[in-house]
Symmetry: C2
Subunit: 141 residues, 2 copies
């Protein structure tokens, strides 16, 4: 049975296949800590921006406010982040990464690095540079 001619070679299909592989490897890496992509992004944002409101986290990570709530519930439950009411703004919470969250983030960081290497493994070093450069031009229409 031949491959689907209308689909197989098209850029959009290749993109979805490559991304599927990439996402599978990432999911593996995150699941080693019992987490998912949203959690990693939130921890990264908390580390980079410092204590933030949930709305800020949503904007900083591109995750919808409502999904931030759920993912944050997990992080707090696991002791990777703290959530406190903002004393000067009754609408906001102040979310802070904990020591455990920080060390988890650092472990994931290494794993995520490994995934980058694994994803690009089929390419030569030169090709990798070229590929990433071109790829970067695509996401932002």
């Amino acid at each position: 049975m031949t491959a689907l001619q209308r689909v197989a070679g098209r850029p959009t299909w290749l993109l979805s296949r490559a991304n599927a592989r990439s996402q599978a490897l990432l999911a593996d890496a995150f699941s080693s800590e019992g987490l998912r992509g949203y959690h990693f992004r939130l921890l990264a944002a908390l580390d980079q921006y410092g204590p933030s409101s949930q709305a800020e986290l949503g904007r900083g990570t591109g995750i919808d406010r409502s999904d931030v709530v759920a993912a944050l519930n997990d992080l707090v439950e696991r002791g990777l982040a703290r959530r406190e009411p903002d004393p000067v703004d009754g609408r906001r919470n102040i979310v802070t990464i904990t020591r455990r969250g920080l060390s988890t983030l650092e472990r994931l960081d290494g794993a995520v690095d490994d995934v980058q290497a694994a994803v690009l493994a089929p390419l030569t070093p030169t090709e990798r540079t070229t590929f990433v450069r071109l790829l970067a031009k695509l996401g932002r229409p």
Copy 2:
């Protein structure tokens, strides 16, 4: 607010962004016929392979058998495909694309072509060739 350093520039992230854009454009194209990616793949398989069993369609498209059932229900309901019991094998159905299905597929074909162009638009012609060549090396580890 700066971009997420731990995420923004990484190949896996660029890949997911580019793919998200690609999938959004595809979804737009398919929704013009009230369909989704699964429907297009199934119609393409029915056209290319001729009348097939659902299991064959699943293998030919990479769609899980259970998901084939659901998507096929839609296609049959819309008159784009026919589903009949196989007279020589009581386990199987024989699925056939209809005339309407064929013309829908041809319309979608053009729309999907346009999407390819739109996705690659940020690249020069030379870059497009290079990009697709490298991309093709990634999906198959």
